[in-house]
Symmetry: C2
Subunit: 194 residues, 2 copies
């Protein structure tokens, strides 16, 4: 079950056998059915999560009590509430499985101990956060620039498999529109963007 | 001119004198008047920027040819187009000084050489990107949840000095509304949020 994680780390930061062993000893495997809650708002998030298989989402309840999904993570993505994790503040988010999922769990204390044993993993996580932050810069651009429909089209084109596998009401929430509006624009998906 | 940068690094990752010297030798100082362009869309971004003094902004031109600011950086913040930097792709953004600014410039090649000399700086940058990414997760929440007016009020309360020092049309662009709408909500700033 550590294969996906080790392969991912190797791609950015080659490890020897002893370093691989240190990684294996630092993570726990979590096998969860879909719709399992991993983190709730108000809790202190003390863990970083790597998705080996399945899909997770980060969401909150807006002022009207409606769920709003702000982020998804599929295979080979990391996800957590990084502010709660870094600043030891209660989380404002919920983290939940969207599908049956296999998740590699890295507790904060285990992470610090792992960095002591394998300092070069700082580089791996530096690269992960740099890429994730870069992606968030681009998302801000799309949010500012594209119409809701164009945003959906862009997202579908960039992540076609992903759009197929997640429930449509979650995708609608992530893109900031109603499930009805999403159905409407999906119905005319063969038409050119107006 | 290296004082602010070294102090900032020390806070997260203490350095000895030799390591400080390696940092000093790796950066260049850029002193720019306000409204100087540092990066243009289409160029390959090869540099990371630390603001010692002043203010920078990241922006793009939307489909209507209007500037949209997506990010600001004041003292002790890093800013760049991290996707262009990491993936060696042409940038989709412009980077410009908002005020007369002193900027510490770290070229990619110098950064890699610096990581070889002082590997612990991977930790410093890992922490910087983790925090920045955490902040972007919260920004996504506010963008989904708050009305435009509430977003402005929240932003003003969180960053009062910042709101005072940047031109209002840039703040309006960043928050996604017109300068006229911003003037209107600032005019009633002593009223409670409706």
């Amino acid at each position: 079950m550590y294969t996906a994680l080790l392969k991912h780390i190797h791609h950015y930061c080659p490890l020897n056998k002893a370093e691989e062993q240190a990684v294996i000893e630092s993570f726990n495997l979590l096998e969860l059915k879909k719709k399992s809650l991993i983190l709730e708002a108000g809790q202190f998030c003390k863990t970083n999560y790597f998705v080996s298989k399945g899909c997770l989402r980060l969401f909150f309840f807006n002022d009207k009590g409606v769920e709003q999904t702000t982020q998804f993570a599929i295979e080979n993505w990391w996800i957590s509430d990084y502010t709660s994790l870094a600043l030891k503040k209660p989380s404002e988010f919920y983290l939940q499985t969207v599908e049956d999922s296999s998740i590699m769990v890295l507790e904060s204390a285990a992470e610090e101990a792992l960095f002591e044993r394998v300092p070069k993993l700082e580089r791996y996580f530096r690269l992960m956060f740099q890429r994730a932050y870069g992606a968030s810069q681009h998302l801000a651009k799309y949010n500012h620039n594209l119409s809701r429909e164009a945003h959906y089209r862009h997202f579908s084109k960039s992540f076609p498999d992903f759009v197929q596998r997640i429930p449509q009401y979650m995708l609608a929430s992530f893109l900031g529109f109603t499930p009805e509006f999403l159905s409407k624009i999906r119905a005319k998906k063969d038409q050119p963007i107006s």
